[in-house]
Structures are given as C-alpha cells and as structure tokens.
Symmetry: C2
Subunit: 249 residues, 2 copies
Amino acid sequence: MSREQCLEMLVRKLSDYAELSEAAVAAIDALPCTIRTVEPSGYIVREGDVPTACAIVLSGFAFRQKLSGDGARQILSLRIPGDLLDAQTLFLSAVDHNVQALTRAKIGLIPRSAIQQLMDAHPSAAHAITVDILIEASITREWLLNVGRRNALARLAHLLCEFTVRMDSRGLGVDGAYELPLTQEQLGDALGLTSVHVNRTLKALEAEGVLKRQGRRISFTGWREARRIADFSPAYLHLPDTRSEMVKS
Amino acid sequence: MSREQCLEMLVRKLSDYAELSEAAVAAIDALPCTIRTVEPSGYIVREGDVPTACAIVLSGFAFRQKLSGDGARQILSLRIPGDLLDAQTLFLSAVDHNVQALTRAKIGLIPRSAIQQLMDAHPSAAHAITVDILIEASITREWLLNVGRRNALARLAHLLCEFTVRMDSRGLGVDGAYELPLTQEQLGDALGLTSVHVNRTLKALEAEGVLKRQGRRISFTGWREARRIADFSPAYLHLPDTRSEMVKS
DNA sequence: CGTTATCTTGACCGTCGTCAAACAGGGTGG
DNA sequence: CCACCCTGTTTGACGACGGTCAAGATAACG
C-alpha cells in the first residue's frame, strides 16, 4: 500500500461528498502521506494528545473509545476502510477520546498542517472533509438513540444492520455475510451491554431466524426482519444515493 | 433583539474558536439575518427537512431530538444562548434529527447560501464554524459514554454538572444555582431513563447532599461531591482556557 | 500441545421500568 | 373568587431486563 494509493483513496472518498475542483484534486495528490501498520488494539490516538496528523484507514478496522472513571469502556464509533480518523479533532487543541485498531490495520497519516493548508486553499476540499465530520456526528447521534432508547435485541440488530450497510456501500460487503471484526466484549462496549448479555442476545437473534453464525461470521437469513427488529432506516448514514443495495431491500 | 445584536453574538462566539480576520468579521457583519421567536416545544428543524438556514440561539434554550420507531424520544443535545443550531447539518442534503425549543426562545436565522459563501471566502470563519461543530460532536460522544456506561445517579449528576459549567462559561450562571429548563420527563429522555426514575434519582442526589431543589431551581450544596459522583471532567467541552470558575474548583 | 483469549451457559440479583394513583401548581373561564 | 384543567411531580407496589459471578467449553496461537 503506497502513498499514491492512499491519496487516491482519499480523493475517491472526498469526491463522494463534494465536487472537487481540479486544483483541489491536484493539491490532494501532492499531500505528504506516510503509511503505518497498527496491530490489533494498538493505539492510534490517545486522549489528551495534541492532534498532529489526520489519518485515513486503508485496510482493517479501527474504533473510537472513551473510558469512564471506573474503567468502563464505551466504544463511540467504528471505522472501516476509507474512513477518516482524526477529522473529529483536527482543529481542537487536545483529543478527547482514544482511537484504537480493531484488527491489524494500515493507516495513512497526513500532517495536520498540510490538511489545514489544503482546506484553507481549496474550499471544495474543506467542504468535503466537513461533510465527513458531519456524517460521523450523525452516526454518533443514532448510536446515542440506540443505546439510550432501544432494548438489547434491537440495539444489537441495529449495529449489525449499520455495519452491513456501511460495508456494502464501500463495496466491501459479501452480500449479507461477513466476518464481524468485534469480539462479543467489544460489541457490548459499543452497545452499553455486557459481553454475557451480547452472547444471549446473539442467540436470540438466531432463534428469531434473522441470522446464522459460525464463529464470528455472520450471515443474514432474514434481512427485512433484521431491519424491523432493529428499527433501522439508513437515512442517518447520508449515503450517496443508490449506493447500497441493502438500503432498498 | 436586532439583527446587529445577533451578528455581534456570532462574531463573539466564533472569535472564541479562531482568530477571525478583519475581512471575515466584516463579512459576518454583512450577513443577512432574521429573528424568530419560537414557543416551548415548537419545532425549529424537522427530520427530513432540506437545510435552508443556519440558526443561532439568542435567548432561551433548544434541544436536538430523535425518535425511535416505537415513539421513544432521545434528546441528543442541549443548546444554550450563543450556540449554533444547524451547523450539524449545513452541508448535508437532509436533516437527520429534530430541533425543538425547550423554552420560549429567540433564534437568528442566516440563509445557508450566505453561510456557505462566508465559509468559502473566509477560511478563518470556516475554521471557527468547524470548531463549533467538532465541540458539539465531542459533547455527544461524552453523552454516549454517559448513557452507555454510567448508572442513573452518575448520569444525572453528569448532565447537571455539564449544564452548570456550560452556562457558567457563557456568563449565564448564577454561581451554582439556576433554573433548570427541563422537565423530569425531558431529563429522562436526555439520559435514557424514565421520568419516574429521574425523580427518584434527583431525590437520591439531594439525600447525598450534593444539591437542593425548589421547583426546578437547582442549587449545588456539594460541587466537588457532585463532580465525583458524576465522574465529570470538563476537558471534552473544549472551553477556552480558564473561562470557567467551576472547572477549577 | 499447552496457554490464553473468547465464547457459552446457569443461577441469582439489582437497577430501572411499568402501572397507577395522589398531589401540587398555574392558568382559564364561569 | 373559586371550580376546573392540564401539565408536571411524587410515591408505592411489582416485575423484567440486563448485570454479576462463576464454571466449563471452544477456539486461537505460539
């Protein structure tokens, strides 16, 4: 995975969000960018850090996370290939949460100053990056609704639906079947549940006939039913039109 | 409350977040802006709307909110005087949540196109608006941790601490005593609890000696203890340095 | 093949939700 | 001025969803 591939991925992603000017594309192609591989659960950014770079996930998965005073962990966001990692804190003086790799992951790092210059010089690029920030914020709001107001069954189903649709819209889906990159404990931390209850709830979803599992491989056997149980409607993902098959069905 | 006062408020707010160029300040002063009064629980923006304006709260309170399929409500964010309301969806093609007035509120409306032109022409203004967006996103993340991983007592205490500090940092606090603009039902909807349990938890906080109540008037009698119970530390608010007294004590 | 992380299951328990009724306050209109 | 609402608060009895604790079963991995 080279610098060029990283920047190409960035251009492709940002193009989804705004009509980039030719100059903006050229400026992105000229960005400095270094590649780093991170092992599972390795930290990419820590709470309290001064943000110095903007990262993009090239392969693998990452997540945002925050710890309460007594050590409980809340996973705030899942990031899949193509997602930006630090836009959320680019302009703040200290990072307010942690970012860790979920699986072995390759990330591209672009210095903060370079991103800032890009945004100042090219409103269309600034616009696109802002849209990325806004969409992640929208997803976080849906998660807050999910954790605050849905029961365990709906909550878990919702996370699985969201993950499926997001993967699918990036062309990473295998049509309703995928290897979930989270342990049940991590699922619990994302959902405000315990791993024990996640386990029971997964079995309940199986019993309802919405999915089958082998190890962490999930395949949906009743997508409509899953959406119904999850109370899932993907408007909050702000996907580029007709991008996803799953949205319609 | 005139257009000029509204724009002055905007300049003051944005100056907290970025060094505005003189040209940017002039451009802001030239923005078109209309004032609207909204009655309690009146809608300011609805889910599905195409965003057409960026609003700023001039007086009173507002909140973001989202409904689940079975009608449960989750309050996502509280907005106090000086806060922007629509930055969160400015660049998206549809709004993904509702915004309602909590009390009678005056809001200033600036057309989306004017804000967009401002941001394109003045990077420092764009920067400041982005910071506002990022801070609200940071607060939403803390709420997700709060709802997902803290028990009712800590959760409620946390919301009260946050509200106090934010009010204080805008110079709207009355030193640890204020009229809470939320009903217990609304508190429950913000915390993922029922109004009945909010009531019991408020009494528990009184019993712990951290606050006294008369009607909705709250006065802290043990601020340190409140912070301890709430597991509250205000870094996530990204306040301009030393702005708040409460942060230190 | 041993070691460790993850998953699975059961028994039990507690926090918080549900339902329902009584109570307080504030406005309105007779 | 008082009856009447309407909204919001308070309280109690009870139940359930999900947490805790603990042990055993699998799977991953060096």
